[in-house]
């Protein structure tokens, strides 16, 4: 590696640290932020302070274990939550719930974002390598769900069939052992339903509670339970390695088992007779299932717009700074801006987002809230694209404009702000609008780190209703309307700017 490259690294590193610090100052951190944004987004206690509070990580898309009560303020409810509340209450802690994607739970434990995880998680050997588990508190049965028209009832019948599972779930690992079955791993339960309905998979393997809900909501699906196996499918509470909490939790669990409290909670969430849902025979799409969920979804519009606005503004400001670096004529600044653009344009946004969210606490000891991590990642990314657009816009302004301003004695900053930028803006406005539209739609990506914007809310509702399409179609329509409003607003702005022609 030659010296020039080392210089690059240095400059980018320093700029990054400064950037993080600046942004850290600009955003309110931790609890207050997540509260104002939504009850579901992650909020974390600082690990160092003496805590009376325990933070529990969960992926609330798995009723009746945990789900978002979208019809009631979006609170997280479920059997796991009730058990957690009881245990922490007995131990004298306050319980705080952090919602995140199931696949991120183990990472959250390892990075100290949460103190324990309850998310219908079974204690597999693989997981045991990374985290500690409590004793089992519940055992679920693996269940085959298939179309009524082509029922599959036994493991043997699955040979040669395409079987769907939820990625990372216990059933996913169980399904690996089915002889002759071909597996298709999907991210969410609603995805499984959708694939079943459209005939892309022949069967899905899920656990009992889920199967009951799936068949209730989708009349043409049938289910067949497989025998329970406590060793394989026992659910346990996960802790970071060597956590002192394991023993005290096990103590309370044993008491609950003895006193019948555990059974009581289980009965509350698994009623003997499932209420039959509305009969929707042969109807694949029925928007009445969304009744009651609409206000919850609409609240996501606010989060999505807030997020888009913050990341667009941040991207615009930082992109402008970068574009000025590029035309500054100062070599190190030019190198930095070029290297920056190259890295942020050359790697996927989803990777940047995940890295910033999970790596920041470990690298900088700063517990970055999900919405801020998302705003930062999108802002940094869009700045890379915008810096090129803005640079082009500035270069396109007639050189004489600059000379006229200089000759009048106008200082550099005033010249850029009042003379050059307004003219550059006119040229690049269509490109800026494109970028905003892209940001608005790509904001759906941030659902992966648990920010409750529109897409995340649609996922939550899909999980709660066990219906694949309705919520998706609704948010698609909402996104479309938002984009239409944005573009017509941009047209108005453009007309205003063209006034002088």
């Amino acid at each position: 590696m030659n010296r020039k490259k080392l210089n690059y690294l240095y400059v980018s590193l320093i700029a990054f640290v400064v950037l993080f610090l600046v942004i850290g100052q600009a955003f309110p951190t931790g609890k207050t932020d997540s509260r104002t944004v939504s009850a579901e987004s992650a909020s974390i206690a600082a690990p160092a302070e003496p805590k009376k509070k325990l933070v529990m990580g969960t992926s609330p898309d798995y009723p009746p274990y945990e789900s978002v009560d979208a019809k009631n303020n979006g609170e997280i409810i479920g059997m796991d939550i009730d058990i957690a509340k009881y245990i922490t209450g007995q131990l004298g802690y306050e319980l705080e719930i952090a919602s995140m994607d199931f696949n991120g739970l183990i990472a959250a434990l390892q990075t100290g974002r949460v103190d324990f995880v309850m998310s219908a998680m079974s204690a597999t050997d693989e997981r045991r390598q990374n985290v500690d588990f409590s004793d089992f508190y519940y055992a679920a049965r693996n269940t085959i769900v298939s179309k009524k028209s082509a029922p599959l009832e036994t493991l043997e019948s699955l040979a040669g069939k395409l079987v769907g599972t939820q990625l990372g779930s216990t059933q996913d690992i169980f399904a690996e052992t089915i002889e002759g079955a071909q597996l298709k791993k999907l991210n969410k339960i609603p995805d499984l339903i959708q694939e079943l309905n459209s005939g892309r998979i022949d069967a899905a393997i899920v656990e009992d509670a889920v199967a009951v809900e799936m068949t209730n909501a989708n009349a043409d699906l049938a289910m067949h339970f497989l025998p329970a196996d406590l060793e394989e499918n026992g659910y346990a509470i996960a802790f970071p390695k060597n956590s002192r909490l394991v023993d005290s939790f096990n103590g309370v669990l044993a008491d609950m088992q003895e006193s019948g409290k555990l059974d009581e909670i289980a009965r509350k969430w698994f009623p003997e007779q499932e209420e039959p849902a509305d009969r929707l025979l042969n109807l694949n799409i029925d928007f009445s299932v969304l009744k009651g969920y609409i206000p919850y979804i609409l609240k996501g519009v606010y989060v999505t717009l807030l997020f888009t606005l913050v990341s667009a503004l941040f991207g615009l400001v930082w992109g402008t700074v970068l574009s000025l670096f590029k035309i500054s004529g100062i070599k190190p600044l030019e190198w930095f801006a070029t290297a920056y653009t190259s890295v942020f344009r050359g790697t996927p946004l989803l990777v940047q987002l995940t890295l910033i969210y999970y790596a920041t606490p470990q690298l900088l000891g700063f517990d970055i809230p999900a919405l801020m991590a998302a705003g930062l990642a999108f802002g940094l990314n869009s700045a890379a694209y915008l810096s090129e657009t803005i640079r082009g816009g500035i270069m396109a302004v007639d050189k004489g404009q600059r000379e006229a301003a200089i000759a009048l004695g106008v200082p550099y900053r005033k010249m850029m702000v009042r003379i050059i930028f307004p003219q550059a803006l006119r040229t690049i406005l269509p490109a800026l609008v494109n970028e905003c539209v892209a940001l608005l739609k790509e904001s759906s990506l941030v659902s992966v780190i648990g920010v409750t914007e529109l897409m995340r809310r649609a996922d939550v509702v899909r999980a709660s209703t066990f219906r694949a399409f309705e919520a998706l179609l609704l948010v698609a329509a909402i996104y479309y309307v938002l984009v239409l409003i944005l573009t017509s607003f941009a047209r108005m702005l453009e007309r205003r700017l063209r006034r002088s022609d």
């Binding site: 000379e403 006229a404 200089i406 000759a407 009048l408 106008v410 200082p411 005033k414 003379i419 022609d501």
Partner: protein
């Protein structure tokens, strides 16, 4: 008022100014003429450091503007410049073009700047165009606004870089009349021009530049009737 000593300017391998020395008195009107490529515009643009000289010094009222330590922005406030292609700010109205520098650079109150701008517009005969955008004006009108914009900073010196070269013939006169009025008011001016008749009538001194050198520096009468150098004679033969 302006003292130029041994001024040179090189673009890459091309030496455009090859050692020019001269002095301009207060109130003097200088017409800079010469064949294209002779360095007229570069010479003019050095006077307010739009081009940085390669060597040599320029002092204005004793201030060495070629010294890197000099606050050149302050000096430029005292030197107005009018360009061949006007360079009005297209996103501002005529009156905003004129009031921008006084309010933003000198901190003049906006009411005062507007009153002064209206006075200047009256002087260049464009009182009715205050609220128009530049795109609605003819070339001659644009150039007169550009002159008013420079005058709004109350400069001691005015530089004109081929102010009529981009104009349709019928508009040349209205602009030259404004410049002539300015010359009569005692403003120190350097004008790069191809308008020989105008140079002869309005200028106190003619600078004839050829190949980066100040070949002649004489009174107009003498220059146009009895040029001293053979090159000037040949040039006049071609243009007159």
């Amino acid at each position: 008022m302006i003292n130029v000593t041994d001024l040179t300017k090189t673009f890459g391998k091309n030496q455009v100014l090859k050692g020019i020395s001269t002095a301009v008195e207060k109130g003097e009107v200088v017409a800079v003429i010469g064949p294209s490529g002779s360095g007229k515009s570069t010479f003019l643009r050095c006077m307010n450091m739009l081009e940085t000289p390669t060597s040599g010094t320029i002092t204005i009222d004793g201030i060495a503007i070629t010294d890197p330590k000099t606050d050149i922005a302050r000096v430029r406030q005292r030197i107005g410049m009018v360009f061949q292609h006007f360079h009005l700010f297209p996103h501002m109205t005529v009156i905003d073009n004129i009031t921008f520098a006084p309010t933003q650079v000198k901190g003049m109150p906006i009411e005062e700047a507007r009153a002064k701008a209206k006075e200047l517009l009256a002087r260049v005969g464009l009182s009715d165009k205050a609220d128009s955008y530049p795109s609605r004006l003819s070339g001659g009108q644009k150039q007169r606004v550009a002159i008013a914009r420079s005058l709004a900073m109350e400069p001691d010196i005015m530089l004109f870089d081929e102010p009529t070269s981009a104009l349709d013939p019928e508009m040349v006169k209205e602009v030259l009349n404004v410049i002539r009025g300015l010359a009569d008011s005692g403003m120190t001016m350097l004008i790069v021009t191809h308008e020989m008749k105008f140079a002869r009538e309005a200028a106190d001194t003619i600078y004839f530049l050829d190949d980066g050198k100040l070949v002649e520096r004489t009174k107009p009468e003498q220059f146009f009737t009895k040029p001293q150098s053979e090159r000037a004679a040949r040039f006049l033969e071609q243009v007159l």
